[in-house]
């Protein structure tokens, strides 16, 4: 099993959600995060004084999937979250040793 972690632009959440549904992924975990990358931050001005916002708001989407569908899901998320502009975010994939569905006690890929 793999954990797919995607950090995306907040306004792309709806598109990513639809793409995951089409890829038969039914569960995800969502976190509001802030971060810095090549996009950099932005500047706000209050009474003429500039205030630098270095960390921009993003959403982090986490999905656990079976090994066989990993590439397909990653591609779907990337396609849905992309705008072609700087700041689209990143997706990374890590291995998962075990998974438990708490309600039934199912383990491993059955619990996905």
């Amino acid at each position: 099993m793999k954990l797919i972690t995607a950090v995306i632009k907040p306004f792309k959440l709806e598109d990513v959600k639809v793409a995951l549904k089409e890829a038969d992924v039914v569960g995800l975990t969502l976190t509001e995060v802030k971060g810095a990358g090549r996009q950099g931050g932005h500047t706000e001005t209050y009474r003429g004084t500039e205030y630098q916002v270095e960390f921009v708001p993003k959403l982090k989407v986490e999905i656990v999937v079976g090994d066989d569908v990993t590439d397909r899901v990653v591609d779907a998320v990337a396609a849905a979250a992309g705008t072609g502009k700087i700041g689209d975010g990143k997706i990374w994939v890590t291995g998962v040793d075990d998974l438990v569905r708490i309600r039934t006690g199912e383990r491993g890929v059955d619990a996905v």
Binding site: R47, T49, Y51, Q52
Partner: protein, 406 residues
């Protein structure tokens, strides 16, 4: 007092009372989220102690007696509202004392914006009432029932007595208190602009009572003061916004709000003395000057957190001095001096400047003294950890925004 006058003074008093919570939101929104409750409490503290202090001793020192030593400070005839009844004047005196009590409440509250984010609440709790008695009351006396007013200077609703007075006190206070940790390298953006905007709305609404109510009657002067309050605020908000658009590239909410308040401050001393296009000119000028004045603190290195000096001191001074140009006694059928633009000589302008210089020196010196005494006795600053984690929790054991309230 006639019934109509009485009704307007009472309504105005309620409007002015609402300004202190309005000011609290105006400042609170500009403050950081971890200190917003401390800011609100500094303002509400004034609503708790000033009304009592005003009727016990403040009013009599500010208004009672006439001539001689009473040109400097009132007598004690009306202490505890002694002998103030409702039989002879239809309640006019009681209504006026309540109305003026609202001014005594909001004037010290104005200073809270300067000391934001770092002043010990126990020190503020003592500073505010002591300042009201030792600074607000004497200056109020000199301007309205004492030697400065007798010389010929005019101040309709409190440009010198309130805004210049509190504004320069704010400067003295922060000079003793010191800079916020991390200022100016670290930015201090407003935590809630919507709160600033609703505070501005409440202030503008209340200010109609502040200025038009200062006619102390339902009459033509009140109507013109009302119109002036309407126009000057709009003009100053507009001119501040235009300066920001040209200089920084955007029309900002904070610029609009700051300009409105600067215009209200500037028209306060002039509200019952100017007419026609005078209020628009005063507003436009005040908006531009104050917009640049708020930048002075970083150049000169005094940390007036929410620009009490740049808006209230500078705005009040601008309005008070401009009376010397725009006063139009013919319009009002009044017996005050004529402004330069209406054929007057420079006498009124001189008296306006003199009154402000006196208020500035007295208020600065005494405020500095009060703050210094507090500093060497109980201390005026919170510790470094409290400043970093926030005053709301450390000083009040409260939290404005619970991330997860469910």
């Amino acid at each position: 007092m006639e019934n109509g006058d009485l009704a307007w003074v009472l309504a105005s008093a309620a409007l002015v009372m609402f300004m202190t919570p309005g000011l609290a939101f105006f400042y609170g929104g500009m403050d950081r989220s971890r200190n917003v409750l401390n800011m609100l409490m500094m303002n509400f503290w004034c609503l708790l102690v000033m009304p009592l202090l005003w009727v016990i001793i403040g009013f009599t020192l500010a208004q009672s007696g006439d001539g001689g030593i009473n040109n400097w400070i009132g007598n004690l005839d009306a202490v505890f509202l002694n002998d103030i009844g409702i039989a002879d004047d239809n309640g006019g005196a009681i209504a006026t004392i309540a109305f003026l009590g609202m001014f005594a409440t909001i004037t010290p509250a104005l200073i809270s914006g300067a000391v934001a984010d770092r002043m010990k609440f126990s020190a503020w709790a003592i500073f505010a009432p002591v300042w009201m008695l030792l600074v607000f009351v004497p200056v109020f006396r000199w301007v309205y029932a004492g030697w400065l007013g007798d010389r010929g200077s005019i101040d309709f609703a409190g440009g010198t007595a309130i805004h210049v007075n509190a504004g320069i006190a704010a400067l003295a206070a922060v000079m003793v208190l010191g800079k916020r940790k991390g200022w100016p390298q670290e930015g201090h953006p407003p935590h809630s602009m919507p709160l600033v905007m609703i505070g501005t709305g409440i202030l503008w609404f209340g200010w109609f009572g502040f200025n038009a109510g200062s006619a102390l009657g339902a009459n033509g002067q009140a109507a013109q003061a009302f119109m002036n309050t309407f126009l000057a605020a709009a003009a100053a908000g507009l001119s501040w916004c235009i300066v920001e658009k040209i200089r920084d590239g955007h029309f900002t909410n904070l610029g609009a709000a700051s300009g409105i308040v600067a215009g209200l401050v500037a028209i306060t001393p002039a509200a019952g003395y100017v007419s026609g296009m005078g209020p628009i000119a005063i507003g436009l000028i005040a908006g531009v000057i104050c917009c640049f004045a708020v930048g002075l603190k970083s150049k000169l290195g005094y940390d007036d957190a929410l620009d009490v000096v740049g808006v209230h001191f500078v705005g009040g001074l601008v309005g008070s001095v401009l009376i010397g140009f725009f006063a139009s006694p013919d319009f009002f059928g009044g017996d005050f001096g004529e402004g330069l633009f209406y054929g007057g000589n420079a006498e009124l302008l001189f008296e306006q400047i003199l009154a402000n210089v006196v208020a500035i020196i007295y208020s600065f010196v005494v405020t500095f003294g009060i703050m210094y005494l507090l500093k060497v006795t109980i201390g005026v600053r919170v510790d470094e950890e409290t400043e970093t984690t926030g005053l709301d929790l450390a000083e009040h054991s409260e939290n404005a925004y619970h991330e997860s309230a469910a």
